[in-house]
């Protein structure tokens, strides 16, 4: 009988997870699993509730990206009630969503992931954290804390609550933007844009160049990708667009969110609570085999950067071109999720400014008239962790009759399992391992930001 190495919990990630690595008698990896520990049953809790209340309830699925659930849910209820938000309401929602993306990226890259790179994957575990960074590089730490604060405060001032938001309502948005608010937000967004460009440079010069050998190895697998692109020109979109499902060879199909169930299926393995979405429309079934995976695609930053034809804002697009010239399209290296995350942060800052400069943003026509009724609506947004799908059916009173949710992180559960196995197999040989090596297995998971 071999042994099982447990890494529990996986730390510096945003969810609850553990890793089990099974070793054979010779101490080599036989198999490895990532377990995501979360089952709360929100689909069931919201049944019977008035649909227009649901956007404020589903926030609590995830306190790391509550804006995403809040807005996907609003979009789904819009669809079920057959209402189109006013132009200003639509743009105010998008504004909050892209601002939330900025804050999330600061949190993930600097607070959670960067200790592995700034202090090194083998740094002692007691200092390998943001507090360690505060000691080693206080200037960087202070800057990062300030920027996260700036971003969260922008949301809190304008929209009331940054964590567990309330301001999106069916048909649009709960409050208009005043001109003073617009000017303040614009000033702060310019500061964040500078910081995003600084972060990208910082990472290119201090992280990606230094750790190239790790990047080209750790957790690498070959899969397809899922993301959202502009309906007209195929550029990167995170709030609204059409879905694009790309095969590992770069060919793709585009589809509208309403039809997601024709393209995606969910698979259950007996050993895990978490369901694993896969590309049903490829008609090849589901298999986690590292050499010949079937139906496996990834979502989240690297996926979005791979599926889009370009980015509509200039600085992010320049960064994308540089990225593609170095890594091609689609890029498969798992640690490049971090690189893609920082490109998206630049996009989110540029897009925030674009929206704040849009003429109608301070209009008071923020909310369309809504009549609760029977219907079905699918609301999709790109959450930081992947394509987030809320699909609701309402009854004649406008209450939820049934709901199906596919949460961003779950798209990556199958590929994360593969990356864990790949990383464990290449790092652990003949029973030799240590804390630093096990942390590298965790790094393969951290890249996905589950």
């Amino acid at each position: 009988m071999g042994t099982v190495l447990n890494i529990a919990p996986v730390s510096r990630i945003e969810g609850h997870a553990k890793i089990a690595i099974h070793l054979d008698d010779n101490g080599n990896v036989e198999d490895a699993f990532l377990h995501i520990q979360s089952l709360r049953g929100f689909e069931k809790f919201i049944e019977g509730r008035p649909a227009e209340e649901v956007p404020r309830i589903v926030n609590r699925i995830c306190g790391i990206c509550p804006w995403m659930h809040h807005l996907a849910s609003n979009k789904a209820v819009d669809g079920a009630f057959g209402v189109k938000p006013t132009a200003t309401g639509h743009k105010l929602r998008e504004l909050c969503q892209v601002m939330a993306h900025i804050n999330d990226k600061i949190l993930h890259f600097f607070f959670l992931a960067s200790p592995d790179f700034v202090l090194g994957p083998d740094a002692d575990y007691s200092v390998r954290n943001v507090i360690g960074i505060a000691k080693a590089n206080p200037e960087l730490a202070t800057k990062v804390v300030k920027m996260r604060q700036l971003g969260q405060m922008m949301l809190e001032r304008f929209a009331g609550k940054a964590i567990h938001p309330i301001a999106g309502v069916v048909g649009g948005f709960a409050k208009p933007m005043l001109e003073e608010e617009r000017l303040e937000l614009k000033r702060d967004a310019e500061t964040l844009l500078d910081f995003s460009l600084y972060s990208l440079d910082f990472a290119i010069n201090n992280v990606f160049s230094k750790y190239m050998d790790v990047i080209s190895e750790l957790g690498n697998i070959t899969t397809g990708f899922l993301g959202t692109v502009d309906r007209e020109d195929g550029s990167l979109r995170i709030y609204d667009g059409k879905q694009r499902l790309m095969k590992p060879d770069g060919s793709y199909v585009d589809f509208e969110g309403d039809d997601y169930a024709d393209y995606l299926g969910e698979h259950v393995e007996p050993w895990a609570y978490s369901k694993m979405p896969y590309a049903k429309s490829w008609n090849e079934g589901f298999d986690l085999d590292l050499a010949a995976p079937r139906g496996i695609y990834r979502s989240n930053t690297l996926a979005r950067i791979n599926v889009c034809d370009k980015i509509s804002t200039p600085r992010a697009n320049a960064a994308l071109e540089q990225f593609r010239s170095q890594f091609g399209r689609p890029a498969q290296q798992t640690l490049l999720y971090h690189y893609a995350r920082l490109i998206e942060m630049v996009y989110a800052c540029e897009r925030t400014l674009e929206l704040l400069e849009w003429d109608g943003i301070t209009d008071t026509d923020i909310r369309a008239k809504v009549e609760p009724k029977a219907g079905r609506g699918v609301g999709i947004v790109e959450a930081p962790r992947g394509t987030l799908i809320h699909d609701y059916v309402t009854d004649a009173n406008g209450c939820i009759e049934s709901a199906n949710l596919i949460v961003g992180t779950t798209h990556n559960i199958a590929p994360m399992n593969m990356s864990v196995k790949q990383a464990a197999t290449s790092l652990i040989k003949d029973g030799n391992y240590n804390e630093g090596l096990l942390n590298q297995v965790e790094m393969a998971v951290r890249a996905y930001d589950p």
Partner: protein, 310 residues
């Protein structure tokens, strides 16, 4: 590490992670806190996997699995002061709504009746066993301090932590959300309950006066009242006020229906009935706590059955 620093452990049980983010979002103040506090275990920030000894232990989330139960007990053993942090920890939180559904119902729904799930069985998994009900942590371990809020506002977190660090008793404020709300309550001639989809409310007048159900008056302020000040009714996410918790014959629906009836022309009986019909919404955050669940006035399963039968 200087030995005189106060050691802090945090752990999350079944929750959304938002309370931990709210700790990180003390922002610049976290740098102040770090001058006197050593964060040892904190699943989002550090790689400590065990439970070292500590002066302060912060627990977020409620107990849903055997793993959660074990973690709460370990934290209690190793930490001198335990803070139940956030509405989930204090009252069970939103997923306490599991009370209205059995574990089997939830499992069936997720694995067997979902339209996109192509497999057709419930996994018997290696993941720590799911318990039957969601349990607030003080039904499993002793809790020293309670800080509800979903999540608590940084203002209250900082106030609480500073008091602990300085060794003084934290100030316990008992104001309701109405205290921080800028709307004025006044008598109206409204005769019908409205919902947020029907009409857009006036920004200066209390929601109750306008016929919208707002839970501000029965909810403890641990949030600085953002919702009513941004055009949205309070749904009670910070949990009930002391009065609601301690008086045996008063609860959320009796209080709100009486107050709203005084402010409008709607009979309190009508309001109470309507709140019972949507009890899952109005009791969403606190129904798992015995303080609410065991009240003679709280009959959620009966109300749900009545709605389903109608």
């Amino acid at each position: 590490m200087s030995p005189e620093k106060i050691r802090l452990n945090t752990e999350w049980l079944c929750d959304c992670g938002g309370c931990h983010v709210s700790l990180v979002d003390l922002h610049e103040k976290i740098l102040n806190v770090l001058e006197s506090v050593q964060i040892q275990k904190c699943p989002v920030l550090t790689d400590e996997k065990g439970y070292p000894e500590a002066e302060i232990g912060i627990l977020t989330g409620s107990i849903r699995t055997e793993h959660d139960r074990h973690a709460a007990i370990e934290m209690r053993k190793k930490c001198k002061t335990i803070i139940a942090f956030g509405t989930c920890a204090v009252y069970g939180g939103l997923h306490g709504a599991g009370l209205a559904h059995s574990r089997e119902e939830i499992m069936d729904h997720v694995y067997l009746n979902s339209p996109t799930t192509r497999t057709n069985f419930i996994p018997a998994t290696e993941v720590d066993g799911l318990e039957k009900l969601v349990t607030p942590i003080d039904e499993v371990i002793e809790v020293d301090l309670y800080l509800p809020g979903c999540p608590p506002h940084a203002h209250f977190i900082f106030e609480g932590l500073s008091a602990l660090i300085e060794g003084t008793a934290p100030r316990v404020r008992q104001e309701s959300v109405c205290g921080g709300c800028n709307r004025t309550m006044k008598k109206s001639d409204v005769t019908e309950i409205k919902n947020s989809a029907d009409a857009v409310a006036d920004d200066d007048i209390c929601f109750l006066s306008q016929g919208f159900l707002c839970l501000g008056s029965v909810t403890l302020d641990r949030c600085l009242s953002p919702c009513p000040n941004h055009g949205i009714m309070c749904t009670g996410c910070a949990g009930p006020t002391m009065q609601i918790l301690t008086e045996p014959n008063r609860d959320i629906r009796t209080e709100v229906s009486e107050r709203m009836a005084r402010l409008t022309e709607i009979p309190s009986e009508v309001i109470r009935k309507s709140m019972e019909q949507s009890a899952k919404t109005h009791y969403a955050y606190a129904m798992a706590t015995k303080m609410i669940g065991d009240k003679p006035t709280f009959l959620i399963r009966k109300w749900i059955a009545e709605v389903e039968a109608s």
